[in-house]
Structure formats: structure tokens, C-alpha cells
């Protein structure tokens, strides 16, 4: 009898998952209809990265495949979609490259710098926080978005966690090697940190009650909250600034300036806000924030 019930529960879970994915698929179909206008008659200084890419009509872009709202692989099309992806398409379009000319490559957190250094990708748009250690090995255009570290808790916030100071004595989960995990270690040592390799395991542990909170950038958490069927909620009190930049080869100042120009134009003419509304904004229901200021360091 018990096992029957368990099988029924699994079946229900399967149905829910199927429903979720088909919803995501429909949403994707709507999104893909509004690709950015590809620039024509582009002209770049000879020998520059822009000229090379533009002439080839092809660009390889690294992004994440597992972050809803920013970069998530659509299993039907085989292409990623999200805010990062839209930003990348904008840049490509200004180079005169349409979507067909873009080769997507999955860049997880640990392989972003090596992929740029080896030339396996021309640029990386992958919730990539600009920081000083990374600036030693790659260049950053942007930021095109400023995220903040936030906390996800079980629905109803049973522990009453309002901010990072409330994490003292609680177990909190994040991903090994991530900036948010390091931040907890450095600045909130009273919190018991558990680290996995992916955030979905943190979400599992939060559901099982093994951890009391999950922390990382708010944009990642909103994706998890949206997929949790109301089991989780966001504390909604970001306590860091994570400027997301576009990573490119160290010393390619022309290409960096070019991307910065594209970003500033997109901030101005509304293409940036539009990209937000169609991707991350459609998941969280939040309107596009004020565009950040590009940092031409």
C-alpha cells in the first residue's frame, strides 16, 4: 500500500516536471521570435578582432547552460537562452553576425578563464563577476548587470533569516569555488557552510531540511525559487554587489571598447531592458532595473 502511494507520488512528480518543461518550451518559442536586428555594412579597423569575426561571420561564445533566466540550455533547440544569451546576441548582431553564425559553448565557472586564454571562445557571457584576480588573466567589458548575493530559505522563512548576520549557527549551502561561498567563509564565519558542486543539490538539501538556507547571487536563486512550486522563498535583501561582465582575451582593448560601446547603446535605446523583460524578467516578474554604468578601467 505504502509503495503504491510512493509510486503515485513519483508519477505525479514526473507529470509536474513534464508540465514545467513544456511551459519553458512554449516560453522559449515566443522568445526566439524577437532576435536583435543584425547590423549591415559594418566596417572595422583592419586586423582588429571585430574585423576578423565580422568577416568570418562566425563567433564562438561561452555561456552557462544551467542557470534559468540567464543561460539555460533548451533541450529542444539545443541552444541556450536567457539574459546572458540575449546580451551576447546583441554584441554579435552589432558585428554583423546573425544567430546562425553563433557557436555556443558551455563555460562552467571553473573553465571560463582557460577557454578565453586558449582561444576556445571569443568571449564569455556567463554570470561572470568582474574581480581583480580575474582581471589579471582576462579583460572585462561591462558590467551589463549588477547582481547581489542573497539568501533562499524554506517557504514561510521558519528560521526568521533576514540577512547574512542571521546565518550565525545555521547551516547554509552554496557551491564550492563560488564567490558567494568564499564571502560567507571570509565575512560570516559563524555560519555553518556546506558546499556542493551545483546549486540544485543545495536546493535538495534545503528541501530535505539538511540546510536552513542557500546563498548565492540573487539571479540564480530566483530561478530556483521559480522552479520550486512555492517550497522556497527569497529573503530579498542582497548584501553584496556582483558586477557581471563580458570576458575576453587579455589586452584586446579595441574589442573591449567596442563591446562597451554596444552595451551603452543598448542601455540607451531600450534593447537592454527589452532583453531583460523577455528572459530573467519573465521568470521573476520584476521589471528591468536601472542599467549599470560601464566600467572602462
Amino acid at each position: 500500500m505504502r509503495s503504491t502511494r510512493r509510486i503515485a507520488a513519483f508519477a505525479a512528480l514526473g507529470l509536474t516536471l513534464a508540465a514545467c518543461s513544456s511551459e519553458a518550451g512554449n516560453q522559449a518559442a515566443e522568445e526566439s521570435s524577437s532576435a536583435p536586428t543584425v547590423a549591415e555594412d559594418v566596417d572595422f579597423p583592419a586586423g582588429s578582432t571585430m574585423a576578423e569575426l565580422s568577416e568570418a561571420g562566425a563567433i564562438t561564445i561561452g555561456t552557462k547552460y544551467d542557470q534559468p533566466g540567464f543561460g539555460l540550455l533548451n533541450p529542444q533547440t539545443g541552444d541556450p537562452e536567457g539574459f546572458d544569451v540575449e546580451i551576447a546576441k546583441l554584441v554579435a548582431a552589432e558585428l554583423g553576425i546573425d544567430e546562425g553564425g553563433i557557436t555556443w559553448t558551455e563555460t562552467v565557472s571553473a573553465n571560463r578563464e582557460p577557454f578565453i586564454q586558449n582561444g576556445q571562445v571569443d568571449m564569455v557571457v556567463a554570470t561572470y563577476t568582474i574581480n581583480d584576480a580575474r582581471k589579471q588573466v582576462v579583460d572585462f567589458a561591462g558590467p551589463y548587470y549588477i547582481a547581489g548575493q542573497d539568501i533562499m530559505v524554506a517557504e514561510g522563512n521558519p528560521e526568521g533569516i533576514e540577512g547574512p548576520d542571521d546565518l550565525a549557527g545555521k547551516t547554509v549551502c552554496s557551491v564550492e569555488g563560488s564567490t558567494p561561498a568564499q564571502n560567507i567563509r571570509d565575512n560570516y564565519p559563524e555560519a555553518q557552510l556546506t558546499t556542493y558542486d551545483v546549486y540544485s543539490k543545495c536546493a535538495d538539501d534545503l528541501r530535505n531540511g539538511n540546510v536552513q538556507a542557500v546563498t548565492t547571487d540573487n539571479v540564480i536563486l530566483t530561478g530556483l525559487v521559480a522552479g520550486s512550486d512555492g517550497a522556497f522563498e527569497l529573503v530579498g535583501n542582497p548584501f553584496t554587489e556582483e558586477p557581471y561582465g563580458i570576458g575576453l582575451e587579455l589586452g584586446d582593448t579595441d574589442f573591449r571598447n567596442f563591446i562597451n560601446d554596444v552595451l551603452e547603446e543598448a542601455f540607451e535605446d531600450g534593447r537592454w531592458a527589452d532583453a531583460w523583460d523577455r528572459t530573467a524578467g519573465s521568470i521573476t516578474g520584476e521589471e528591468a532595473p536601472e542599467p549599470p554604468t560601464v566600467d572602462r578601467y
Partner: protein, 216 residues
């Protein structure tokens, strides 16, 4: 070098975690694997069947899946290990025991049947002949394959990094992402940590093999 000494605490504790994962799981797997091997050659059909089932299940399931099941699956039946370290030891032991069992069984098969028959003729029970006559000879035959199993286990501990255990691989992930400009030092330190465990093991295995091997 400055960078490595700055992070020596993390690297040292990560090394100790990896070493203790390997040693504790190794001992558990050896005990469990020996029991399983005994079951597989026992005259009682249900015991044989049970051990065969166990070995086929664990030997043919990816270790990551075993980890995932013990970390997130058994919660469904209201079971939990007290810590993630113990979860990792359990996963590594259960998985490795299947390989220990098979290595040992090959050793048991290599013991001439006359040995077991002679033991029976002396009036020893099955358990006695296994413990006192067959297994001692089997172990001496299977030092090299058991050595391979041990070295594979030492490297397999790295999967624990994905399940909330801060071992050398977890330290690699943590340091590599936070220090993009020091990647090579991080890799060198972590690889050295694994080599410190595996290379002396390989040497020790050869020494033991030379001393106990039976020339047939």
C-alpha cells in the same frame, strides 16, 4: 609559492580529508569485500545469490550514482547518514567492496582445489577451511589486483567533492575559481597531494607482492 603558503591550512586539511576517506573506506571495503567473497564461494545457494546480486549491482553502477542515492535518495525512506563524510565513506566502501570481492574471488579460484579438499578431509568446517587454508593463500595471490583497487579508490574519493566533503578536489575548485591567476600552482599542489598517497602505495604494493607472492 607565496600563494601556496597562504592557503597551506586549507590544502593540508583537504589532504587529510582525502587520505582519511581513502583509508577508512579502504578498510571497510576490505572487510565487506572479504565477507562477500566468502559468501560467493559458500555452499549455501541463497548466500551465493545475495553476494552475486550485490556485486553485479555495485560493480555496474557509476560511483556518482551511488553517492547521489546515499546523499539524496535514502531521505525518501526517512534515512540519513549523520554527516556527509560518513555518507562518502559509505558510498566508497559499498562500491569498492564489489571490486575487492571479485579480486579476492579470483584468488580463491587460483588456490588448487586439493587444498580445500585436504582441509575438508582433516575435518575442518567450511568456515575454518576458508579462514585458515584458502583465504591466506588467496590474499597472497591477489596483492597486485587489490593494489589496483586501492589506488582506484584513492582517486575515486574525488567524487566526494561534489557532495559537500572538502577534499583535495574541493580545494582545487575553491582555489582555482577564486585565484584565476594562480591556476598552475593550484593544480600542482592538488596533484602532488594525490601523488603523495598513490605513489608510495604503488611502491609498497610491489614490496608486499615480492615478499608474499606464491610461486606456482
Amino acid at each position: 609559492m607565496q600563494f601556496l603558503s597562504d592557503n597551506s591550512d586549507l590544502l593540508w586539511s583537504a589532504f587529510l580529508t582525502t587520505l582519511s576517506l581513502a583509508v577508512v573506506s579502504g578498510v571497510c571495503a576490505l572487510v565487506l569485500g572479504t565477507v562477500l567473497a566468502g559468501m560467493r564461494v559458500s555452499p549455501v545457494p541463497p548466500l551465493r545469490g545475495l553476494a552475486t546480486f550485490y556485486v553485479e549491482v555495485f560493480r555496474n553502477t557509476p560511483l556518482t550514482v551511488v553517492f547521489f542515492f546515499l546523499a539524496f535518495g535514502i531521505v525518501q525512506i526517512d534515512l540519513q547518514f549523520p554527516s556527509r563524510f560518513i555518507t562518502a565513506v559509505a558510498a566508497l566502501s559499498l562500491y569498492t567492496a564489489a571490486f575487492v570481492c571479485e579480486a579476492l574471488r579470483s584468488g580463491i579460484n587460483a588456490v588448487p582445489p586439493g587444498q580445500a579438499e585436504a582441509a575438508r578431509a582433516l575435518g575442518l568446517t567450511f568456515g575454518q577451511s576458508l579462514r585458515q587454508v584458502v583465504l591466506p593463500q588467496a590474499f597472497r595471490t591477489v596483492v597486485p589486483p587489490l593494489g589496483n583497487v586501492w589506488i582506484a579508490l584513492a582517486k575515486n574519493t574525488s567524487i566526494a567533492a561534489g557532495f559537500a566533503v572538502t577534499d583535495l578536489t574541493a580545494a582545487l575548485q575553491r582555489l582555482a575559481n577564486a585565484n584565476a591567476d594562480q591556476l598552475l600552482s593550484v593544480f600542482a599542489a592538488v596533484v602532488a597531494g594525490y601523488l603523495v598517497i598513490t605513489l608510495p602505495s604503488a611502491w609498497l604494493i610491489r614490496v608486499v607482492e615480492n615478499r608474499v607472492a606464491i610461486v606456482r
